[in-house]
Symmetry: C2
Subunit: 220 residues, 2 copies
DNA sequence: CGCGTAACCTACTGGGAGTAAGTTACCCGG
DNA sequence: CCGGGTAACTTACTCCCAGTAGGTTACGCG
């Protein structure tokens, strides 16, 4: 590697497409994370790559395409991490626990950029929204699978609803965790698994004024 | 156009500031809801108001300011609706139930624009993010209050975490509900309250392989 | 009736997304 | 070593839209 010396100025290093794309995704993820999608400019991303703007368009088509590519890469990484974590589990509860820890750890390490993804989905075109939604679907499938194992007696609509609940709760929890440095990924995972397992019941008063007959009825 | 306009040419009605502002907010809420924040153009909003763009800037300062004003108005409305609903309740469970129904009903009726708010928070400036976050804080306060009543024995960190969980779950549930016409606001509320009350425990297998000693530990 | 002011306008600037068309460096077969 | 083909890269634009400067009209009111 004679010319691979890390010198930013003067000498422009010409890169292979694959390498340049990877670098662009790294830079884009960072810039999007710093300013948010809308405020990030393609010129800035190009400049930080040491390259001119049309290259970005050559490789990713549009600003939106660049975001989609970032999302897609993260999605793959997240899926990989969570699946690997869950594969090591034995009981359903353990699956849930390990999955949650993996999820919160992942977001913890990618916090800035991933928080952006969670809050800024529909940036411009439906394309982006679709990519983010695809990530959710992927996670949903995973969760729904766990739920089905966890609760084989639950009807489909309840599984679906609870999957959504868990998705939303996890995302909010992740966002909250990034703003609370004293809350570790394990803490977040524990809150989630505890809540999923029993809800509020551990804290209910021992003699609750809860006539089950007239309460908003049981899940059918 | 060839003069086929349904309204007479001199119809340019001059309005009081208050009335015009209200109209602008109505139109903006609709346009933002239709296209999303980023894709919505100030020119279109102005045109639909039958007014020119600088008027919008005169009254709201910026595109962002307009969004913030929309959010603020919706926030007040939502708070009003949920508080009124909860005031009529008797037991803590009833509070939760009524609050949830009110929340989902509100979003159901404002679906397009409110879904936009839920998914598109950090549009441009921190100002907008702040306004949306303020709405969340308001709701969080409400929820945390209910939780404290519901579960007086729960420690503060659990209350905080569970509040976030419920917030996130509700938002996701609301989004899901808008895409599922067969799910009513009451259905959504029922899923939520059931999950909050007991989590997954009703569906757990009667003889669960759950050694509590090594399981991710209980909420402290 | 005229005068102050608030509602409203036309016509512009500026910045960033996206593009057309040209230039340079690297690889590879003679 | 040498051309030439192609992939990496550039300059220099266009267009669209947020935001603005400054002027114009209509309404209330003394």
């Amino acid at each position: 590697m004679s010319g691979a010396t890390p010198r930013p100025p003067s000498r422009r290093t010409r890169m292979s497409r694959a390498a340049r794309e990877r670098q662009m995704l790294d830079v884009a993820e960072q810039v999007f994370g710093e300013h948010g999608y809308q405020a990030a400019s393609m010129d800035e991303i190009a400049e930080r790559c040491g390259v001119s703007k049309p290259m970005l368009y050559e490789y990713f088509g549009s600003k939106d395409g660049l975001l989609v590519a970032c999302v897609t890469r993260s999605k793959a990484e997240l899926l990989d991490v969570t699946q690997k974590a869950m594969a090591a589990a034995t009981t359903p509860e353990d699956i849930l626990w390990r999955g949650m820890v993996a999820y919160f750890s992942f977001i913890d390490s990618h916090s800035k950029s991933f928080a952006m993804l969670l809050r800024e989905p529909t940036a411009a075109t439906p394309q982006t929204a679709e990519a983010v939604e695809a990530t959710r679907r992927q996670q949903s499938t995973l969760i729904a699978g766990v739920l089905a194992t966890f609760a084989p007696s639950a009807p489909a609509d309840v599984i679906e609803a609870y999957t959504q609940i868990i998705m939303g709760a996890s995302e909010r929890m992740a966002l909250w965790q990034t703003s609370r440095p004293d809350v570790s990924a394990e803490d977040a995972a524990r809150y989630m698994t505890d809540f999923c397992r029993q809800g509020l019941s551990p804290y209910l008063t021992p003699a609750p004024p809860r006539p089950c007959a007239e309460a908003p009825r049981e899940p059918r």
